[in-house]
Symmetry: C2
Subunit: 245 residues, 2 copies
């Protein structure tokens, strides 16, 4: 939380962007911009305006300009942004210039799909190792990788210089796996298990819960249904709650 900000710290006279603390919301959108830029690049566009890119990424153009301005000035007024240059800049900021190795723990239903998902490799991530606690699954080959027993995690993680761990185990096993990942020095975890992970400070955890997304949609669906049932604005908003007892 605390930003290690040295006011007046001598900015080393380098020509390097120097990781300015980007707003978290901006960081979360950069990958989306990146994807849109790749699409534009393949479509043959050399430059793109903030309006065009914002459109392709599904955001407001002012927001996009502010986001990009945090990286520095890589646009040209009156023209727009150089697609290739911007791709390089964003990839640089996101740390995608080096291929990162990912360890996937839990090769059940979801883990199996993740192991075979080609969207990772195409964006600079290499699934370097698969693990599972079930010995019946150990040895199975998925997408050219052999499933190892989770006991080997420590050894393999070092060998493969894992930098990100993905947890796709059942919820009860997730915390133990997280502990093991942290123990071998992994400081970034993507958690698909429906539970809260407790990790030491300095370790980043992002959680993806597929059911939660559906429940959020359900809420809006529910709300929309209520609204259409009560057309216009003339409804008795009071709702004579019959929910007593």
């Amino acid at each position: 939380m605390s930003q290690h900000r040295h006011p007046g710290a001598p900015g080393r006279a380098g020509a390097v962007p120097a990781l300015p603390d980007l707003p978290e919301a901006t960081v979360a959108r950069l990958p989306e911009y990146l994807r849109a830029l790749h699409a534009l690049s393949e479509a043959g566009h050399d430059t793109v305006s903030s309006e065009g890119l914002a459109n392709a990424a599904g955001v407001n153009s002012a927001k996009l300009r502010k986001d990009l301005s945090h990286l520095g000035s890589y646009g040209t007024r009156g023209v727009g942004y150089d697609v290739t240059l911007l791709i390089e800049q964003i990839e640089s900021v996101l740390g995608l210039t080096q291929c990162r190795s990912v360890a996937l723990v839990g090769v059940g239903n979801l883990g199996h799909a993740l192991a075979g998902y080609d969207g990772f490799a195409s964006r600079g991530f290499r699934i370097a190792a698969l693990f599972d606690a079930d010995r019946a699954r150990v040895g199975e080959e998925i997408n050219g990788l052999v499933v190892r027993h989770v006991d080997e995690l420590a050894r393999v993680a070092v060998e493969e210089s894992i930098s990100i761990g993905v947890i796709a185990t059942p919820a009860p096993a997730a915390q133990a796996v997280a502990d093991q990942l942290v123990a071998v020095g992994v400081t970034s975890i993507l958690n698909f298990a429906p539970c809260v992970l407790s990790v030491p400070e300095g370790v980043d955890v992002r959680k993806v819960d597929l059911a939660i997304e559906l429940q959020i949609l359900s809420f809006h669906e529910h709300r929309k249904a209520s609204l259409t049932a009560l057309p216009g604005g003339l409804v008795a908003t009071d709702t004579q709650e019959a929910i007593g007892t």
Copy 2:
């Protein structure tokens, strides 16, 4: 569990819990509370304090209390929250008192996993139909459901009264699928394809992009690496990104 007391009054009359426009951030957290509550319930807890529940859900207790206060006052000062009652309330607000039918389009790697994911059924969602554009996949049976051709979407969606559509197709096909879903009246879409969907107003789209999560983690990993390389003003590596020029 499906034991809620909906006063099935005819017409639109008052049974509606008043749907007070909850803050979006609150809505996004309610499912997490719900999960934590179910865990507590199974562990035998009858009541729980905001501190305890906040802990189980991984949030600040003040935030949790504020979130719950938006639903009304369902806690007892000095005691805490009644676990069962709170579960009922949240499920009611989220519209989970009725089982929602989900159509899954795209039975590739990811779609296959989603079709077999039991986390949906256990939380009140029923995958009612599977679709794919690839006729080679049509007819395949997954988890007791037969894959249908996407052309049948319109007919089946009505038959099964689909309320949520899940898109797990490759990106190029996603927009067309979304259009079809919208055409048959689906107003909530969960999109796993890495692209922006354009939908008419009134249709909710949530996007889950697995690669984006990894990229966000990559950024933080990158930043942490830079910080440790510069312990306190020690000008060392400026990150060796020698790309571009």
